[in-house]
Amino acid sequence: MKAVMKAISKFLFALKMTLWGTYSVWRRHAKVYQRSFLFNCIPPLFEPIIYLVAFGFGLSPLIREVSYLGNNIPYLNFIAPAMIGIGLLFQSFFEGAYGSFVRLAYVKTWQTMLTAPLNFTEVFMGEWFWAATKGMIVGTLTGIAAIALGLYTPLNLLISLPIMLLSSLLFAALGVVTASLVNQVDQVNIPIFLVIVPMTTFCGTYFPRDNLPFFLRPIANTLPLAAIVDLLRWPLGLPSYWWIGLLWIIVLLILVSSLAARLIYPKVIR
C-alpha cells in the first residue's frame, strides 16, 4: 500500500512539474504574442471578413445557393464555417512550422530552455500547444466575425470549440513535423504548396466536394480539413459518416503529434 501511495505521489509530482514546465514554455510564447496583441489580431480578424465580404458581394449573385446534404444553403452560410477551419489551419501550421523552426535553428529557444530545469517533453508540448493556441485564437476571431455577419451563432461557435481545438492541435503538430524536416526556412514553402494550399481549396471549403471529379474526391475526403469543415458545418447538418471523420482526425492527431515529437527530438537532444 505504501509503495502504491509513493508511486502515486511520485506520479503526481512528475505531472505537476510537467504541467508547470509545459505552461512555462507556452507562457513565454504567449508573452511575446501579448506584446503585440493588436498587431497580431488585426490581420486574422480582417482576413475572413475580407473573404466573406468579397465572396458575399462577388460570388453570391452568381452562386446564391449551394446544395449541401440535400438542402439549398446561401453561399455565405456555406463558406463561413470553412473560413474558421482555414483560419485555424494556417495559423497553427505556420506557427508550428515557421515559428518552431526559427526558435530551433536561429534563436535557439528550444536549446536554451533545455539548460533550465525543463525536459524535452515539456519544451515540445509547450511549443506544440502554443502553435495550437494561435490557431484557436484565429479560429475564434473568425467565428466572432462570422457571428457579427449573422452567419454563425455564439452557441454554434461554443459547441464547435472542441473540434476547433482538435484541429488546431493536429495542424500545429503537422507544422512541427515540417519544422523538424526542413533545413532552411524557405523549405517550409514546399509542404505549404503540396499539402496546405490543396487542402484549403479541395476539401469542401469554397465548394462542395461532390463537384470534384471522381478521381480527386477520395484524396480530398482523406485530407483532414475535409472532416473538420464537415464538422464545423454542423449547424447546416452533418453527413452520415461524420463520426468516421471525427475518428480520423483523432487518429491523425495521435499519429502526427507522435511523429512530430520523434522527429524533432534528435534536433535538440544529440
Binding site: M17, W20, G21, S24, V25, R27, R28, K31, V32, R35, V107, K108, T109, Q111, T112, M113, L114, T115, A116, P117, L118, N119, V268, I269, R270
Partner: protein
C-alpha cells in the same frame, strides 16, 4: 625530430580533491554516426572515456582545439547530449535520471548567443526565472540582484540587439545564475570579446569562485585558462591527454623557458636537443625549443651562435604545453 614522450599525468592530490566533488564525471563516451562508403554504420568517436571531478569553489578548465570534444562533453553534463556510456553526478544526483533536479542546481552558458531577442534585458531574466518556478516579486527581485551583479543595471530596459558583445555574454552568465547554481558550465564564454570585455567577464568568474561555485570552463584562450583555472584537463580528439594545475603542466611538460627561432635547419636542432636532453617542435614559420632545467644557459648560448634570422627567449606557457603534446597550436 625527437620523439621523447611527455611525462604521464600526475595524480596530483589537492586539498579540494579530498573533499566530496560537487560534480563527478565518470568515463563519458560519445560517438556519432558518420556513414562512409562501404560502412553505413560507421561511427566517429567524439568523446572517449572522459572522467573528472569538480569541487566547490574550483575553476576547472577544459582546454583543447576546435573539435576536441569540449562542447560535446559539456552537453553530456547537463543532458543536451546523451552519452553512449558513462555517468554524471551532480551533488550525488545522476544527471541522466534526475535531469530536472540536477538542472535546478546548474547554470549553463552555451557557446551560442541564445539570449531571447523578443524580450528586453530585464525580461530575459524574468522569463527564464519562470522556468525555475521563480515568479512575481521574487523573480523581479532576483533579476535586479543579477543585473547588479553583472553590472547591467543601466541597460535593464534595453532590447538585446542594443547590447555590446561583452554585455550579452554577461547577461547570458547572469541568466545562468538565476537559481543560485552550485555548478556553472561556461562553454567558450569569451570567444569574440575584446580584451576589456574579457577582463570584465573574468572578474565575474573570480567572484563566483569566491562565492563557492564550481565552475567548468571550456576555452581555447591560453591566457584565460592560465589566469582563471585552478586545474586543467587537456583534450585532444575526445581524450584527456593530460591534466594538472596550469603551472604544474607547464613545468612538467615544457619546463621553465623556451626559445623561438627561425631559419635553422631541423637536423641541427635535432642534434642539439638530443644532446641537451630536451625537445623542439615546429612553431609558426620557425621552431620552438625547450631550454633544459637546470643549466639552460649552455643551450641558449649555442642557439644564439646559430645564424638565425629571429631568436627570442621567453617563459614557457600553456600554448607550449599544447605544442609539445599535440605538435600544433591550440587555436
Amino acid at each position: 625530430m625527437q620523439t621523447q614522450n611527455p611525462s604521464t599525468p600526475s595524480m596530483s592530490v589537492t586539498t579540494s580533491a579530498l573533499s566530496v566533488p560537487v560534480l563527478a564525471v565518470h568515463d563519458l563516451w560519445k560517438s556519432y554516426k558518420t556513414p562512409v562508403k562501404g560502412d553505413r554504420n560507421h561511427r566517429t568517436p567524439v568523446v572517449q572515456g572522459v572522467s573528472f571531478n569538480l569541487h566547490r569553489g574550483e575553476v576547472l578548465g577544459l582546454l583543447g582545439p576546435n573539435g576536441a570534444g569540449k562542447t560535446t562533453t559539456v552537453g553530456m553534463l547537463y543532458g543536451a547530449v546523451l552519452p553512449d556510456r558513462g555517468t554524471v553526478q551532480l551533488s550525488g544526483l545522476p544527471v541522466q535520471n534526475r535531469n530536472r533536479m540536477a538542472r535546478m542546481h546548474l547554470g549553463v552558458v552555451t557557446q551560442d548567443d541564445n539570449l531571447d531577442p523578443d524580450f528586453n534585458v530585464f525580461d530575459n531574466l524574468i522569463h527564464f526565472a519562470h522556468h525555475y518556478g521563480i515568479t512575481g516579486k521574487a523573480a523581479r527581485k532576483r533579476a535586479g540582484e543579477i543585473l547588479a551583479q553583472v553590472n547591467l543595471e543601466n541597460v535593464a530596459k534595453y532590447r538585446i540587439d542594443r547590447l555590446s558583445g561583452g554585455m550579452r555574454r554577461r547577461l547570458a552568465l547572469g541568466r545562468a545564475l538565476i537559481n543560485h547554481p552550485k555548478v556553472i558550465f561556461l562553454d567558450e564564454p569569451t570567444t569574440g570579446l575584446d580584451p576589456d570585455a574579457r577582463q570584465d567577464f573574468w572578474k565575474l568568474i573570480t567572484e563566483l569562485k569566491r562565492e563557492g561555485c564550481g565552475i567548468l570552463l571550456t576555452t581555447h584562450y591560453m591566457d584565460e585558462a592560465q589566469r582563471l583555472c585552478d586545474r586543467l584537463l587537456l583534450l585532444q580528439q575526445g581524450q584527456v591527454i593530460d591534466e594538472g594545475t596550469p603551472n604544474e603542466l607547464i613545468l612538467r611538460i615544457v619546463g621553465h623557458e623556451v626559445v623561438e627561432l627561425e631559419d635553422v635547419a631541423p637536423d641541427t636542432l635535432e642534434e642539439l636537443t638530443r644532446n641537451a636532453n630536451t625537445w623542439y617542435r615546429p612553431f609558426g614559420t620557425g621552431y620552438i625549443i625547450a631550454l633544459p632545467n637546470p643549466h639552460p644557459e649552455t643551450l641558449w648560448h649555442i642557439l644564439t651562435d646559430l645564424k638565425s634570422s629571429r631568436i627570442a627567449r621567453r617563459r614557457a606557457n600553456l600554448e607550449d604545453v599544447f605544442i609539445r603534446l599535440t605538435g600544433s597550436l591550440l587555436s
